[in-house]
Symmetry: C3
Subunit: 302 residues, 3 copies
């Protein structure tokens, strides 16, 4: 779990994912020689802060977003949200501006957000939840499991992947914007027919802790049914524990595949979490294991 | 009206349009020899559940969406909407899961939707309005006139079309998603400058039954005025009865043309209906005739 | 200021920008010989009502939208909004239909909008704010400073520009739709890495009159931080007065760059105005000067 620990301690708020990009590039360069297949890595300014890995002859891509929700300083100690964070009064926030590191508390006064740092923070500074990782009785609890577990899952898939794309995207928590150019690059270089969204979903009255990874039949958006049926059929064959999710809200990188100019099927598959978008996101380790196992199976059999 | 009757009896909820695709492919293969021009048909997995017909040298495309609104089962007898269906308590719904056919009633309890089927229905099962077609005193009344009449109109246009695309799209009722790849294919193979959206609109205080097909100057979105003026000018020359529509809500496949990376003009033209998105949608047969006549005229003269 | 005066007196509501297009094409043809570099001009039906100017070897593009907010006539003297105009009762509106010129007042009855013109106005007629330009004590006040000042700025940039695109877009006030095809053309002909949005922003508690042009760190959408940092660094070097803006609402042509299939960085830079989207928009002339100076600097140094 050292890798997961490292991932959870990097700041990477939407729009400013360069620290995570740098960490992942280093990690991939160190590890790729030990993977079953050595991928081509595409990165650099022409891909902004994204990373693409191409293994063999891809049929399917795995997308994991690197960014997180957070806050940005405005004027007069005001904060505004990046993505949709929980904004409980007293939450500890951290960041840095040109004057140095910042550690402060969130003040929520009737829905208006402020920080209590003793000095003014430079306009437009990103703040994140202070990290506090707890592993206990089969659960992991921390800030930003969404989507560090999705990134972790994607890296585990890399170890044995023969054919496929593994892609680390940006901006997902705040409306997206990297998926369109990532898809264009993929489709013009080694096109795919299908995509899996490696991300974290919600515990609900139908999807619970410890019952396996969730396969989403729909969220706010509806993927093509014939592909979902194929994924469910394979999941049954895999013997990995899974739960079927049906929601009418929420979105993911899958949204941008749905609306892209490419006929690519997509399916969101991820472990469910409690306390979504808070510093106390909670996931059952068993569900994370199932997620990794199902991805490995699907990337071989799809 | 046998064709229209057949179209109205096929289930084709957004995301699961394959039954309608199969029906239309069979129909087109049977009929295309009797059409004035035999089109090329593009279909298959690379087009998901869509169908494109290319006649001669296209300048204009007709788009008709194949999908309908409906409901999806969630957990504990809950239903969630697909698109924006009317949800009146007691409405009859039909569908099928792996255990067999389903016929049940919609229960609307303070806006929360349930079904009353005696057994649990599998998660993620699509349900549609039970069909009840009534033709009486110049009106047709049924579920899903939106957009089976638009599909019917497109098929009638095929009979005498010399040059143009006729395209059957998917997902329209639930945010879209097939138009971008359909447009890309069209623009890279036989590009167009203009598009007509063959769909059904609303009876309002300015657009009424029996006064002809509606030409929409705008809905939530605003097409380019110079093209709308050209369409209106031609409509006047055609001697077909039409009404001008001006709305600030509602959308269609035209939205995705507006936001596509192609400079393609678009205009929504369709008969108006009452009881929108309910099992009792109602259209004047005269307005449907006008719709067909105007499309035939425009596809020749645009 | 004659040029600015002329720009402010042309009607160009979203969807009907052809009058502004014609004016600009004439103006550009007259002036381009006196510019430091003579650009290629791309215009005509394949670009709808947009205009693109290519100077030298572009690295960066300036986008200025030509359209404005306004109103459209519906049925029975009703009006509906185009974009998000202020709708104060009694506001003077002007327009024209086939029966002749129109001058009337806006009636706002509990949020429902009407006109008081003595005769019926043809359905779908565009109405704009009556223009009233006031220059006084260092301020300009008028309707449609947003975005005639952005267009004016772009034209001033043309005078000395060596390398870059200057692009006049349409539909921006009503959801957009020209940016995708403009970007496609640019990227396929003389691609760019970065874009500046020449548009007008809001006076707020952090951005005030007379303190220089605003550089937006974010609005509803969040551009990539590493690019914003680069722009701010250059702005400091330029010695031009500027203010940093941080908002969580509002959008611009930048939104469509963010969601385009091209990895192009963008930044909104514009003078702030008071009385937004009303007939009395107000901008400090000093801030407009700073805007022009900063654009000239950035287009050289980016």
């Amino acid at each position: 779990m050292q890798l997961l620990n490292d991932l959870l301690n990097i700041q990477s708020v939407s729009g400013d994912e360069s620290p995570m990009k740098k960490f992942l590039i280093n990690l991939i360069l160190q590890r790729m020689q030990s993977w079953k297949v050595t991928p081509f890595m595409y990165t650099g300014e022409e891909f902004h802060d994204c990373i693409l890995l191409k293994f063999g002859n891809p049929r399917t891509a795995v997308f994991a977003h690197m960014d997180t929700i957070g806050f940005m300083t405005r004027y007069h100690d005001q904060l505004i949200a990046i993505g949709g964070p929980e904004s409980e009064d007293g939450t500890e926030l951290v960041g840095e501006d040109s004057l140095g590191p910042i550690s402060c508390k969130l003040k929520n006064i009737d829905g208006n957000l402020f920080h209590d740092f003793p000095r003014a923070i430079e306009r437009g500074t990103n703040l994140s939840f202070a990290q506090n990782i707890r592993i206990h009785e089969g659960y992991i609890q921390a800030a930003y499991l969404d989507n560090r577990l999705g990134v972790y899952n994607a890296l585990k898939v890399c170890e044995s992947l023969k054919d496929g794309w593994v892609v680390f995207s940006t901006y997902e928590e705040h409306g997206g914007g990297s998926m369109p150019f990532l898809l264009k690059f993929i489709m013009e270089n080694a096109p795919i027919k299908q995509a899996l969204i490696s991300d974290i979903t919600w515990v609900t009255d139908g999807v619970t802790h410890g019952n396996g990874v969730a396969i989403s039949i729909r969220d706010k958006f509806i993927p093509r049914r014939s592909f979902i049926n194929k994924v469910i059929e394979l999941a049954k064959n895999s013997k990995v524990a899974f739960q079927l999710e049906v929601e009418d809200a929420g979105g993911s990188d899958g949204r941008e595949i749905q609306f892209s100019p490419y006929a690519v099927d997509w399916c969101f598959i991820g472990a469910p979490e409690d306390n979504v978008h808070s510093p106390n996101e909670k996931v059952a380790l068993y569900d994370l294991e199932c997620m990794i196992d199902l991805y490995k199976y699907l990337m071989t059999h799809l």
